[in-house]
Each structure stands twice: as structure tokens, then as C-alpha cells.
Symmetry: C2
Subunit: 116 residues, 2 copies
């Protein structure tokens, strides 16, 4: 599998970023860790993600052992996604991001509100 | 400034990823938090990063209030980079990535070693 930081792979931070560093991946993990399981729920929550990109990211996360895909209906084929133990272990990373964003990066006011 | 996850900006995780989610940014922050200060040190440590990309990332981090740039020589102009309080506050994010990478994503053995 292609990795961005192969030359840095002695570093655990670089190895982590090679798994979660692609665009949207952390937000997919956020939603799965909140208990979302269905493709359609993820697609709706991640307003703006192209559907083929969500599908690609989920496949990569499955290949990396972060997510399992479980068929819950055969006709039509429907799957649910769940975090593995390895995926759940990313919880502290997401929580640390949540805390930093809350404390240090407030939501920007829309320009309209500011000009009033 | 363009943000990837603007539609998600109610979420602190998305706001954090909009600051640190670009390729190489986390590894630059890792090196600065280890005490590296000079452009040349960063360039060497981040073997493989194109120099113009490092320069662009540092400018963006400065614009985001994560890094300060201090001139330590005028002739020739030379600068050092330092984390601000806001930048240092990202420490727990990087530490959580370090722990996860150490525990869950071991370094892959080179193919040569495996075939022996």
C-alpha cells in the first residue's frame, strides 16, 4: 500500500498519520466512534464528501484493520461498518483533537454576523 | 483562508483537522515540539519534503497562530521557528498519535528481511 511518510516510518507519529492522515478519514472515524454504522448515515453526516471517496476511505480503513464491514442484508446487499479494537484505540487521538479545537480554534463567525 | 471542512466547522475535530490535516504539518509540529528551530534542521529531519512545501506549511502555521518566526540574523536573513502557546497545546494530540502508532501500527519489515 502506498504510504506518504515511508521514509519516516521509524516514527510512530508518522505511521499513525499514514493511516489517518488522508482527507476525511479522521471525520469518518469520529462518526463511527459516535456509533454511526451505515454508509448512508456517514454520507449524510459528512456533508460534502464525494460518495466514491467515502467508499474508498472505508475500503482503506478495512484494509488497515481499523474498520470491519458486516453484511446485514443480502437482498439487497447492505453493510454496516464498525470500529475494530485497533480502530477504537484511536479514540484518544480524536478526543485530543476535540479538546484542542474546543479550546484553541473557535468557530469563525460568518462574515454577515461580523458586519452587523 | 480556504478550509477543507468548512461545512463541518461546528465540530472541534474538523476545526483541528483544518489546521493540522495538511500533508506534513503534523510532522513539522512533531519536530518543533522536539525543540528543532531552524529551517535547515526541519528540512533534514523531514527527509523527502520539498523545500517550497516546508516553507508554505510554516507560513500557514504562522498565519494560524501556531508558530512564530524570529529573525536571529539580518545579514544574511535567518529565522528560527518556535511553537506558540496554541502550538504547544497540540502536544497531547501528537502524544496520542505517538502512543497509537507505537502500540497498533508497528513498523513494517522490509520485504528483503521477510523473504529470508
Amino acid at each position: 500500500m502506498p504510504r506518504v511518510y515511508r521514509g519516516q516510518d521509524i516514527c510512530p507519529v508518522a505511521r499513525t498519520m499514514d493511516i489517518i492522515g488522508q482527507r476525511w478519514t479522521v471525520l469518518i472515524l469520529r462518526d463511527l466512534s459516535r456509533g454511526m454504522r451505515r454508509y448512508s448515515e456517514l454520507l449524510e453526516s459528512l456533508g460534502g464528501i464525494p460518495s466514491n471517496l467515502l467508499s474508498e476511505r472505508l475500503k482503506q480503513l478495512e484494509a488497515d484493520g481499523i474498520v470491519t464491514r458486516v453484511l446485514y442484508s443480502e437482498h439487497p446487499p447492505r453493510a454496516e461498518y464498525e470500529l475494530t479494537e485497533k480502530g477504537k484505540a484511536l479514540g484518544p487521538v480524536i478526543k485530543a483533537m476535540y479538546r484542542w479545537g474546543t479550546e484553541w480554534q473557535p468557530r469563525e463567525e460568518p462574515a454577515e454576523a461580523r458586519s452587523r
